[in-house]
């Protein structure tokens, strides 16, 4: 079974982002970039499926600038077999990304497509669901457990009240939640081997996809800061303040 994994290059999760002075966006100059953490979990899950003998080939795809080749090499070092960069310098919305991924899905014909549930930059949580709609596939979002059996995949999902399990006909889309697995680190020999694995570069035009958007960002601001209050000396003082000053208990 062929597995397709989509990944995104984003600001490293340890970076404290700053809003630009002109409110045009977030300052990304000289900031460390990494693979989106939920995408790392997606790559790890695909590699585990291959180690179990369920997946035969792992293709990893990203949509982004030329520098996103770094994230593809990381995925290759973790165990993906080959990779595709859909190169664009535009910041695309989820629908445009889903359309580009649909074109890759049509060409590659994977049985299972794994994505992160959301990217930690735009926090949209849309791409997997949109790709599922465009492809006409079933979707198992926010997965904490994935089991492939025959022509179906069973996905346990993290939902508001607890866990839900659904059975999906393949081909299907899975989006990862935090607790699906703990991604491994790439070993040095595997990092060296990854440099020789295939990496194809295509453009949105070559895929015949329009990336026009109906949403534009007018401005980006820092959130209203919350100021620190007071320190109380005892539990008794705390309870007194909550009762008489804040009046919340």
């Amino acid at each position: 079974m062929k597995v397709l994994v989509a990944v995104k290059r984003v600001v490293d999760y340890n970076v404290k982002v700053r809003v630009k002075a002109d409110n045009s966006g977030v300052d990304l100059a000289n900031v460390k970039m990494s693979m989106n953490p939920f995408c790392e979990i997606a790559v790890e899950e695909a590699v585990r499926l291959k180690e179990k003998g369920v997946a035969s080939e792992i293709v990893v795809v990203t949509i982004g600038p030329n520098a996103a080749q770094e994230q593809l090499r990381t995925a290759l070092a973790l165990g993906a077999d080959r990779s595709i960069l859909v190169e664009t310098n535009e910041e695309l919305n989820s629908l445009a990304v889903a359309k580009l991924l649909k074109a890759v899905v049509d060409k590659e014909q994977p049985q299972l497509i794994i994505l992160g549930k959301q990217a930690i930059d735009s926090d949209n949580n849309q791409t997997g669901q949109m790709l599922a709609a465009l492809s006409g596939f079933a979707q198992g979002t926010f997965a904490s457990k994935v089991e492939v059996a025959g022509d179906k995949v069973s996905v346990t999902r993290e939902i508001d009240g607890g866990l839900q399990t659904v059975s999906l006909a393949l081909p299907a889309i899975v989006t990862t939640d935090l607790r699906l697995n703990e991604p491994r680190y790439a070993s040095l020999p595997n990092i060296m081997k990854a440099k020789k694995k295939p990496l194809d570069v295509v453009t949105p035009d070559a895929l015949g996809v329009s990336t026009a958007s109906t949403v534009k960002t007018l401005k980006v601001e820092a959130p209203a800061a919350r100021s620190a209050g007071i320190k109380v000396k005892s539990v008794a003082e705390l309870v007194e303040k909550l009762k008489n000053e804040a009046k919340v208990i």
Binding site: S122, Q126, Q129, Q164, T165, V215, K216, L218, A222, V248
Partner: protein
């Protein structure tokens, strides 16, 4: 043009999140219709008809909609949505699951987790885990939007008398089926709807020590939450997690116990009205957002707190 609000419900009852979405719809302005898609969902539809500000309730009652499987409900919402200016749903795990699928079927972008309405086409939403707030404008013919419930007050659950209308329900797409669910059972209020939340972090030490928080919560009528560190350490189940990757809460009172205050956690609770932090480390970042901070050993402070209320 009218606004379609997709109801969050359990078939037997309307979920409180729907009331916040109705308020967001009122801020956009226009006739508000609520869609209740479910199986045996007449009770939820009746409740929706009573919500103040709702002018019509559409009911799609079909076994295929029993568990809100997106493969089945998204085509229905997209088909109905074509006739509306906006389609809104709560940013719950249900709304986040099916609404992007609706947007793609309508060939429009979705705007996720709005926290404010600037005008009928302009909205504010958090990005980068709440470290920046984007103002976005949509030119889509149908604006498909998920609503962060903590950004809007709840509409009055009583006072309306909307007409209830059945819609020809769709069919089972045959691509997915519901196998089962394990829902946490608790007599305490639901985290995202509670007026008071008591949360524990890594400082709790182990899962058994959460009993101190449960005792305090039961005295206060509060829900109990946890930081990601406490969940990852296995102290408590993940549906208790408050934070960017867990639940977003904004209660009247949030009591953070043994929580250091990672950005990830603050993103999930910083809109609470009053924040209390109890931590033995006086340098903990949680104190920078707390209205009342108490530097103390939580194992002494929490039982004392419980006795005093």
């Amino acid at each position: 043009m009218a606004i379609l609000v997709v109801a969050e419900h359990t078939n037997a009852a309307l979920a409180p999140a729907t009331l916040n979405v109705v308020t967001a719809a009122q801020k956009i302005g226009g006739d508000i219709h609520v869609l209740v898609a479910g199986a045996g969902c007449a009770a939820a539809a009746e409740a929706a008809a009573k919500v103040a500000g709702v002018s019509k309730v559409l009911v799609a009652d079909n076994a295929a909609f029993a568990h809100q499987l997106p493969e089945n409900v998204a085509p229905l919402i997209a088909e109905l949505g074509k006739g509306y200016s906006h389609v809104l749903a709560a940013a719950t795990t249900n709304g986040k699951n099916y609404l992007p699928r609706v947007a793609a079927l309508l060939d429009v972008d979705q705007i996720s987790e709005i926290i404010a309405v600037e005008s009928a086409d302009t909205f504010k939403r958090p990005i980068y885990a709440g470290n920046a707030i984007a103002t976005v404008q949509s030119t889509a013919a149908v604006k498909v939007i998920t609503v962060r419930t903590t950004g809007f007050d709840a509409a009055a659950a009583e006072g309306g008398s909307a007409a209830v209308e059945s819609v020809a329900a769709g069919a089972d797409a045959g691509k997915s089926s519901f196998v089962g669910e394990e829902l946490a059972k608790s007599d305490r209020p639901e985290l995202t709807a509670a007026k008071i939340v008591v949360s524990g972090g890594r400082g709790m030490g182990n899962g058994d020590n959460f009993k101190h928080l449960y005792a305090l919560a039961d005295k206060l009528g509060a829900a109990v939450g946890a930081s990601r560190a406490a969940v990852d350490a296995g102290f408590v189940p993940n549906d208790m997690q408050v934070g960017q990757t867990g639940k977003i809460v904004a209660p009247q009172l949030y009591i953070a116990v043994g929580i250091s205050g990672a950005i990830q956690h603050l993103a999930g609770m910083k809109d609470s009205k009053v924040i209390v932090a109890i931590n033995k480390d006086e340098e903990a970042p949680i104190f920078q957002v707390a209205d009342y901070g108490l530097v103390a050993d939580l194992f002494e402070a929490v039982p004392e707190f419980e006795k005093l209320v």
